[in-house]
Amino acid sequence: MKFADFMTRESILAGVTADSKEAVIREMVQALLGAGRIEADELESIVKAILKREELGSTGIGRGVAVPHTKHPSVDRLVGTVAVSNEGVDFDSLDGEKVYLFFLLVSPPDRPGDHLRALENISRQLRDDTFCRFLKQSKSADDIQQLLDEADNNQFVSQ
């Protein structure tokens, strides 16, 4: 699965200023709404579901990366977005470090395979130091979109 299969340019956020876990999650879900990927009356429910998932254990998996996510019955296909913070956000990460790169996923409850393949793609790309560095340095949503496109074209990893 490629980034283009579940991410759209309209929901990408560069230079997010949110400074808490809830704030950054809320801003990203709001961006999904702005891009027409979720319904307005589902926003609160999706934010709450993602925060509830975080209570089971942070999705901040180290290396300055977090993948907040949830299953939600209001979506009929996997939707996601990416955000970059220049300052970093305390996210209760496994390694205790701040998070700079966020990949948020909302998937239909009956499609665990799609969620797994999206996670596979995200984590495979994030294993590449160059991809991570360029992403952290991104100044605009267009920069981020370009990096995701390049990743989709296998320009960062050979696996």
Binding site: L56, G57, I61, G62, P112, L116, L119, S123, L126, R127
Partner: protein, 118 residues
């Protein structure tokens, strides 16, 4: 180290969500409790793909779905204990790690294949 051994066992992932993020996180936390080095290996059509058992990123990047066969390999002085705990965790669908202790007592799983150290 006179007790440095490598032991491994193949387990089938029965969790409907596969080796997802929380599963990998819990597995990594349990693997980290042991001195032994832990790796997981999945066989694909092309070649075996390995991931460090304490790296969430590496494990999730293998994209392991339900029904997959995963070889868990531990090397070190407490390799057998590590393997027993980690395979039990997979068989419990990566449930809360503190339940492992109860599971271990009732487990009648065959002994893992043991080989000489590297």
């Amino acid at each position: 180290m006179n007790s440095r051994i490598t032991t491994s066992r193949t387990v089938i992932v029965t969790n409907p969500d596969g080796w997802h993020l929380r599963a990998a996180s819990v597995f990594a936390q349990v693997a980290d409790r042991f001195e032994s080095k832990v790796e997981i290996v999945v066989h694909t059509k092309e070649e075996p793909r390995r991931a460090c058992g304490t790296s969430v990123l590496q494990m999730v990047s293998l994209g392991i779905p339900e029904g997959s066969e995963v070889l868990v390999e531990a090397t070190g002085s407490d390799a057998e204990d590590a393997l027993r705990a980690l395979t039990a965790l997979i068989q419990m669908d990566f449930d809360d790690p503190h339940e492992i202790q109860n599971k271990k007592r009732t487990s009648d799983a065959p002994d893992p294949e043991t080989s000489a150290g590297r």
